[in-house]
Amino acid sequence: MQVLTYLIPISLILGGLGLAGFIYTVRSNQYDDPEGDSRRILSDEWDEHPKP
């Protein structure tokens, strides 16, 4: 049962990370345009990083 002392905190932290990630995406308006975002992947224009 010793293993539980590691596993339970780990599972809680992983779950918490997922939740934090989701909250970040909601806060930064990432669900405002789901249709457009799925198509922007196909764009060959880079808006932030230089082309490789």
């Binding site: 539980l4 809680l12 997922g18 909250i23 930064s28 345009d33 249709e35 764009s43």
Partner: protein
């Protein structure tokens, strides 16, 4: 936000020179919005963004494909109208959107709030469910107690955060001594938490932490679906309103300035160009033209307007520029006064109780009584408070309206989504249920069954030379009759005759010289011809008597199909119009409607709807004009086309987005099936209760059974709803 403000480096190199802070700190930068109904793919997004960012004065532009809209940050003096030509040059249809009317779409606080609570409940329930599964799998003694305590530590704060909407709703119902669906939910949550904590502290076997969390999760999912459906409808309705930018041209000392309609004052001189809508009630000061009053009265024949004549807000100026002096502005205009009639009509409408409300009315007291009875029964039987409380909590949790909470929203989401793709916007939450009961359909004529565009009927009666002259004259004017005549003639392969000295006489027609003869095309009174009963334009060649081009109102696409389908579905179809009886009779005959009324005033329309309702009919009213507004509000359920006046759209439950009327018949069918699904869902949810409740009352229910019953019923209900898509 950041994504919208960040200038696109690839498309607009010049923008990089502007420090990002400068953009954010300068609130003077204009925010503009364009509606782009034609965009549909990645290439469109790139082309539009590249085009907009390259336009001078634009700081940054970003396309939202879901809303088919572009948001633009621009220099303060930019106007959206300046960017429309840019879009049209790229081949995209663009319309200006009034940002003030879009405000609530921008700050979608409630939706985000619900989503956040849903996410927290979801993550917490997953974690607690993991711990619970190990307990059900056989964890015992100290391990079980530890798992229960960890579950409690996760559950209590989560419920405190996620279940807040239920606490608030239940409290507001209890404060006025009423019961709603949220009262049993809150009671079940609180009782589950209290008994579980008690059990855990006594190192008992059964704790319902996972049940409390999954319950919250499923119920929030239902709430969120419900909210999304309405938010989508609301934002689309807002977009319709935002497309009508309320501006007018004010004349002061001969200088034209464009101002918002709200700034106009009584006595202002306002210039209304051909094609423009009267912004206020007033009186013509100068200019001559014709007015289209069909939106206000249903009349199709244009009315002649000359100095001294009164005009009402909402009328459309057809031929010449008119200068009017405002007599009534804002709330005092005839447009707004119609609102009083709407209020009266609405008060007469019997209040509809939604299926969910009637289910809650049956359900909430039933659950409380059942739970209280099992508590009292077990207490009297064992004299053990702990056992009795445990069983009462189990009964409440198992009967909790998890599936009931999903039963209605899951179905309405699926049905509204399906109708939205067909071009119908469901504005009201209970509109589908009411639509399903409809047995009588009342149509307005002008603008609803007809497209409001005239169609030439007697082209064959004219010889080719006459047509060539008529075409030349018609091309010189933007009047709807001229445009229709020119189009019909061109389709027949006629080319324009060489008519010189062409000019339009506003309010009368066009005239010119052909081989030395004066030729004219215009109103009967101007040409000297007898007034016809139909809409007509008269051609005068200067020699023999004038001859008339006769027009009928073109049917809206799908009008015949819709009426036939409604008749075939066994519904009564009626036509009530403010137009003259000749026009109404012709149209009724064309569509096969036997029941029609012509020359109806707005009050007559309301009376007719009331009379039908009193006879026990459930009436669907379809109309677009101001004269229909009160009738739309009085009917059991109402539909208006997107081209309708704002007031009519507000009063109706469903808005038809496209030109086509065919979806009306289908909507009735979808609504009927949706209501059937809702009832099925209620039955399914009840079935699960019928199986699980006896177990709970008998004290045989375990947290595992509760979790299984709850999840299984929620999932079946959602899947059943999906069959509608």
């Amino acid at each position: 936000m950041t994504a919208q403000l960040r200038p696109s480096a690839a498309a607009c190199p010049g923008c990089l020179a502007i420090p990002q802070n400068a953009v954010e700190e300068a609130p003077i930068a204009a925010r503009l919005a364009l509606s782009l109904p034609g965009i549909h793919c990645q290439a469109c997004i790139s082309a539009v963004e590249r085009g907009l960012n390259a336009a001078p004065g634009v700081i940054s532009a970003r396309v939202n494909l879901t809303l088919k809209r572009a948001m633009i940050e621009a220099e303060p003096d930019m106007r959206a109208a300046d960017l429309i030509p840019v879009m049209e040059a790229l081949g995209y249809e663009a319309h200006e959107l009034d940002l003030a009317a879009l405000s609530s779409t921008q700050s979608d606080k409630t939706g985000r709030d619900l989503l956040m609570r849903l996410a927290v409940a979801g993550f917490a329930s997953m974690n607690v469910m993991l711990l619970s599964v190990s307990v059900w799998a056989g964890a015992s003694e100290a391990t079980r107690d530890m798992f229960h305590w960890i579950s409690a530590a996760i559950t209590l704060p989560t419920i405190a955060f996620s279940a807040q909407p239920f606490f608030k709703n239940a409290w507001s119902a209890l404060r006025v001594h009423r019961l709603n669906m949220d009262v049993p939910i809150v009671l079940a949550l609180v009782l589950a938490l209290v008994t579980s904590l008690w059990e855990t502290s006594l190192s008992g076997e059964h704790a319902y932490f996972d049940a409390a969390l999954t319950l919250t999760f499923f119920l929030l999912a239902g709430r969120y679906l419900d909210y999304r459906t309405r938010a989508v409808a609301r934002s689309a309705a807002e977009e319709l309103a935002a497309l009508e930018v309320p501006r007018a041209i004010r004349l002061r000392d001969g200088i034209e300035t464009e101002v918002a309609v709200g700034e106009l004052a009584i006595g202002d001189l306002i210039l209304v160009r051909p094609g423009g809508r009267m912004p206020v009630d007033g009186e013509v000061v100068s200019g001559q033209s014709e007015l289209d009053r069909s939106l206000l009265t249903g009349e199709t024949l244009p009315v002649f307007a000359a100095p001294g004549q009164g005009v009402s807000a909402g009328e459309v100026n057809l031929t010449g520029p008119l200068t009017i002096r405002a007599i009534a502005v804002g709330k005092d205009t005839s447009l707004h006064r119609m609102g009083d009639l709407v209020a009266i009509a609405e008060s007469g409408r019997s209040r509809y109780t939604s299926l969910a409300d009637s289910a809650a009315k049956l359900y909430a007291p039933g659950v409380h009584i059942l739970s209280a009875l099992s508590f009292v029964g077990w207490y009297l039987y064992t004299w053990d408070l702990r056992t009795a409380l445990n069983i009462a909590a189990a009964v409440l949790i198992i009967t909790c309206p998890c599936a009931l909470g999903l039963a209605v929203p899951a179905v309405t989401t699926a049905a509204s989504g399906r109708l939205f793709r067909k071009g119908m916007l469901i504005k009201d939450a209970t509109a589908l249920e009411r639509l399903a009961q409809v047995d009588t359909v009342v149509f307005d004529k002008t603008g609803t069954l007809t497209a409001g565009t005239p169609q030439l009927t007697n082209l064959d009666e004219f010889c080719r030379t006459d047509l060539e002259i008529a075409l030349a004259l018609a091309q010189a004017s933007a009047h709807p009759l001229s445009r229709s005549l020119a189009q019909a003639a061109q389709e027949a392969g006629v080319s324009a005759a060489p008519v010189s000295d062409l000019h339009e006489v506003p309010g009368y027609g066009t005239e010119g010289l052909y081989r030395g003869n004066r030729v004219r095309l215009g109103r009967a009174a101007w040409i000297g011809a007898p007034q016809a009963s139909m809409t007509a334009a008269w051609l005068d060649l200067g020699e023999d008597t004038a001859r008339g081009f006769l027009f009928t109102d073109a049917l809206r696409p799908g009008a015949e199909t819709a009426v036939q389908a409604l008749l075939a579905a066994g519904k009564q179809v009626q036509l009530v119009s403010g137009d003259s009886s000749n026009a109404v009779r012709d149209l009724a005959a064309r569509l096969g409607i036997t029941d029609w009324v012509a020359g109806a005033l707005p009050e007559d329309k309301v009376e007719r709807i009331k009379m039908l309702s009193d006879q026990g009919h459930k009436v669907l009213m379809v109309g677009d004009g101001l004269n229909d507004t009160a009738a739309l509000a009085a009917a059991h359920v109402s539909i208006s086309p997107a081209s309708a006046l704002d007031a009519a759209r507000v009063a109706s439950d469903i808005v038809l987005l496209g030109q086509d009327l065919t979806p009306i018949a289908e909507a009735c069918d979808v609504a009927r099936r949706a209501t059937k699904r809702i009832r099925e869902n209620f039955r399914l949810a009840t079935l699960y209760n019928v199986i699980a409740v006896p177990l709970a009352v008998a004290g045989l229910a375990t947290p595992l059974i509760a979790a299984l019953a709850m999840s299984a019923s929620s999932i079946t209900v959602s899947l059943n709803a999906l069959r509608l898509r």
